[in-house]
Amino acid sequence: MAEVVGMPAALPVGSVRHKASGWWGMWTVIATEASLFAYLLFSYAYLAVQSHGGWVTEMPKFRIAAPNTVLLIASSLVLYWAETGIRNGRRGRLLFGLALTFAMGAMFAGLQGLEWHNKKFGPSDDAYASTYFITTGFHMAHVVGGLVVIAALFLWGALGKFSAQRHSAVTIGALYWHFVDVVWLAVFVTFYITPYLQAHHG
């Protein structure tokens, strides 16, 4: 109980990979934002149950949403590839990967916008519509935030701020982007898949 810890030899100075405070901070951001989406999906589920049938205004279509989902997941893989690049000091790979991730993310946003445009209902039609637009809207806001993060990382990377040892901003930003991805999967399953499961159960 009363032993004193040994005094260290050399200690890392500043942000070195997972030893950055910001990395832990990003996990707290993930905890709170994940809770936000959990409450949104709870709202969907609660209102669906309370409606006793007839909740879904229009069965969702996969034509845009399915490829869009694949696109977003792929962008995470690209970002992961970029991050491993800078971990090995490959600045070029980092920059290329960031740019590609940005393009894929922007395309996701654009396609989502197209899907919104094509919907036959608007947010003020009924509660299902409101929930759909607000939830995907919150997700979209997080995607846009993520795009800003990626753009900033690209800018800093281009300015030569990152090296094999010092790139915690990339790790932290990537963590956020992967989180946005996982949230999309939860939103996708809730809004696009569960109505079909319910339809099967009659």
């Binding site: 109980m1 009363a2 032993e3 004193v4 810890v5 040994g6 005094m7 260290p8 030899a9 050399a10 200690l11 890392p12 100075v13 500043g14 942000s15 070195v16 030893k19 950055a20 405070s21 910001g22 832990w24 901070g25 707290t28 951001v29 709170t32 934002e33 809770s35 936000l36 409450y39 949104l40 709870f42 709202s43 609660y46 209102l47 309370q50 409606s51 909740w55 947010p123 003020s124 039609d125 009924d126 509660a127 299902y128 519509a129 409101s130 637009f133 607000i134 800003v148 900033a152 800018l155 800093w156 300015l159 030569g160 701020k161 990152f162 090296s163 040892q165 010092r166 915690s168 901003a169």
Partner: protein, 651 residues
């Protein structure tokens, strides 16, 4: 200038005192710039802590005045001092001011000032974010109260049940101000929680394992983790209310597939954990302070620490007890009723730990001790009235009556306010370098204690006699008259007690006895620093071996002691140490940011966004979003000084 070779460093270990040249050098590194610029850009956690305390107290006084006006109206039946509308505005503002603008920020004030000192560290995990969380709190409080200038304060209670708060029943802008103001305030709460969690995980002194930290650390940590998961529920609820009111969405509108109870679920899923967030740190103040005034360590430290966590955990599973009368099925009511009974148990652990500490200790009859002892009684009283409302069929009578008003004031004032006052008496010397007057302190205690009980104890009777809540007047002949009069008189006496407290603070600031580092002979680390502490807190980073570093020589808790006068220097700019969360092994040297104006700038742009949303000025919303992004990018710009970049030869 940090170079790529400075990736690792062996910290220099020296012996130094607060009077040494080393201390002078550290002071130059850590102190804030003088003048207005320094005041606006400081990230010193002690300054921020004091600001939180002062601002929260100001809101307490405002909320208290609102209450006194209501008590004047209710002192006798069928009075017309206030119109129903005025009364409804008052009880709404009173509730939201106390619960949101006082109860948590006051505890943030203590935690901000004390955490780095208690943990042997030089700053919070994210100093700029710390400043930001204060500024957003201040701006959101002003945002909410600016409604007064437009005569558009919210008037539907702090709990805003729909559909009454939807546009068709409540067309004024007050509800929109409340909704948006709360989302803004939620940002402050969330980032503050983030700061505490990461600090605890990363930045304790070497040797400070998790089982050695003071209970206020456990309390604030638990509250912070709880807030991370709970605050989004209410932010979402308010956001959805705002869209229902402004964009005709239908979340709460039964005519189009929405449901009024969705509001209540979201609100109380936040609301119940929140009430633990606003008492657990205060209970920590008692768990750490009472032992000093009983001259012995807290009885059952481990049990108290675990009961803190358990209370918050169970606290996430009882929210429906605010909704017992809404027509939910009996099976689900039984579950929440049982959970609401179970949650009494961790609190019982704490109560008996405190009593045992007093019983086996030797009390020092100073003002803080009076407040601590009185607190145990008030805690118990508030706890049992809560226990009564946990029984569903009894709650069906008690809910929405003055019984609940009595309960909530006993727990909020008893478990938050009384420890806060005790904490100020105890830590005033540390914050300011002066002692508060003992004589005034005792008068303060008795007027507050008697006034409080006179004001709120009769409300139990009022509730049992069937007086509903939130009514601006009541008919005579109900048996409610005498209790209301007593409550009104008591509230004024209690207010007088608060006035005495403020007088004590004002007088002591000027003429209080000068205090040394440890006037109470306390056991924790903050008492090893000067009063008030210098900007850098510790000349050398201490190494901690026990729970009571300053009592080790007398407690004989084992071989090997804490080392306070000898340790790591860490003076290459603003630096402190990062250690392992569980066992306290050093892990990294952290570079800390200095004063910066970006937190205030970010607050301004963020608030501008909310103002734009309120008035539907979408150009302002867009401009402020872009400005906020620019400020954030500037804030997070990787710098070599913070050890975030590849070093000088890359620019």
């Amino acid at each position: 200038m940090l170079t790529t070779t400075d990736l690792k460093r062996t910290p220099q270990i020296i012996e130094a005192t607060y009077e040494s040249p080393t201390a002078e050098r550290l002071e130059k590194i850590w102190k804030s710039e003088p003048g207005l610029r320094g005041w606006l850009s400081t990230v010193d956690h002690k300054a921020i802590g004091k600001r939180y305390l002062i601002t929260a107290f100001a809101f307490l006084v405002i909320g208290g005045l609102e209450a006194l006006i209501m008590r004047l109206q209710l002192a006798r039946p069928e009075q017309h001092l206030l119109t129903p509308d005025q009364y409804n505005h008052l009880f709404t503002m009173h509730g939201l001011t106390m619960i949101f603008l006082y109860a948590l920020p006051i505890l943030s004030g203590f935690s901000n000032f004390l955490w780095p000192l208690l943990l042997g560290s030089r700053d919070m995990a994210f100093p700029r974010l710390n400043a930001f969380s204060y500024w957003v709190y201040l701006f959101s409080g002003i945002f909410l109260y600016l409604a007064l200038l437009h005569d558009r304060t919210p008037d539907a209670g702090w709990f805003n049940y729909v559909p009454y708060t939807l546009r068709s029943y409540d067309p004024g802008q007050g509800m929109d101000i409340y909704a948006l103001g709360m989302v803004l305030l939620g940002i402050s709460t969330t980032v503050g929680s983030s700061n505490f969690v990461v600090k605890l995980l990363r930045m304790k002194a070497p040797g400070l394992s998790i089982n050695r930290v003071p209970i206020i650390i456990w309390g604030t940590l638990t509250a912070s983790v709880g807030n991370l998961f709970a605050v989004p529920a209410v932010s979402l609820a308010f956001f959805l209310l705002w869209t229902d009111r402004n964009f005709q969405t239908h979340f709460f509108d039964p005519a189009h597939g929405g449901h009024p109870l969705l509001w209540q679920h979201l609100f109380w899923m936040f609301g119940h954990p929140w009430v633990y967030a606003i008492v657990l740190p205060a209970m920590g103040i008692v768990s750490d302070g009472l032992p000093i005034f009983c001259r012995r360590p807290l009885v059952g430290y481990t049990m108290v620490a675990l009961s803190t966590v358990l209370t918050m955990f169970i606290g996430f599973g009882v929210w429906v007890h605010h909704m017992f009368a809404t027509g939910l099925p009996p099976q689900s009511l039984s579950f929440f009723s049982a959970a609401s009974m179970v949650i009494v148990l961790p609190s019982a652990v704490a109560v008996f730990a405190w009593i045992a500490t007093i019983f086996t200790g030797r009390p020092v009859y100073k003002t803080p001790f009076y407040f601590f002892a009185g607190f145990v009684f008030l805690f118990t009283l508030g706890g049992v009235s809560g226990f009564m409302t946990a029984a569903v069929p009894v709650d069906w009578q008690l809910t929405d009556t003055y019984f609940v008003v009595a309960h909530l004031h006993y727990v909020l004032l008893g478990i938050n306010f009384f420890p806060v006052i005790a904490g100020i008496y105890m830590w005033f010397p540390k914050f300011t370098g002066r002692m508060m007057s003992e004589r005034l302190g005792k008068w303060n205690f008795w007027t507050m204690f008697i006034g409080f009980n006179l004001a709120f104890f009769p409300m139990h009777w009022l509730g049992l006699a069937g007086m509903p809540r939130r009514i601006y007047t009541y008919p005579p002949g109900m048996g409610w008259d005498w209790s209301n009069m007593a409550a009104s008189i008591g509230s004024f006496l209690f207010a007088f007690g608060i006035l005495l407290f403020l007088i004590n603070v004002a007088l002591s600031l000027r003429r209080g006895e000068i205090a040394g580092p440890n006037p109470w002979d306390g056991s924790s680390l903050e008492w090893s620093t000067p009063s008030p502490p210098p900007s850098f807190n510790f000349v050398v980073i201490p190494t901690i071996a026990t729970r009571h570093p300053l009592w080790e020589d007398r407690l004989q808790e084992g071989e090997g002691g804490s080392r306070l006068g000898q340790g790591m220097l860490l003076d290459n700019g603003r630096e402190t140490i990062s250690t392992n969360a569980l066992n306290g092994e050093p892990e990294a040297i952290l570079k800390m940011p200095g004063d910066s104006i970006t937190p205030l700038l970010a607050t301004v742009t963020l608030t501008a966004m909310f103002v734009g949303m309120l008035y539907h000025w979408w150009w302002l919303v867009l401009a402020s979003v872009l400005a906020s992004v620019a400020v954030c990018v500037a804030w997070l710009w990787p710098t070599a000084a913070l050890g975030q970049t590849a070093g000088e030869h890359h620019g």
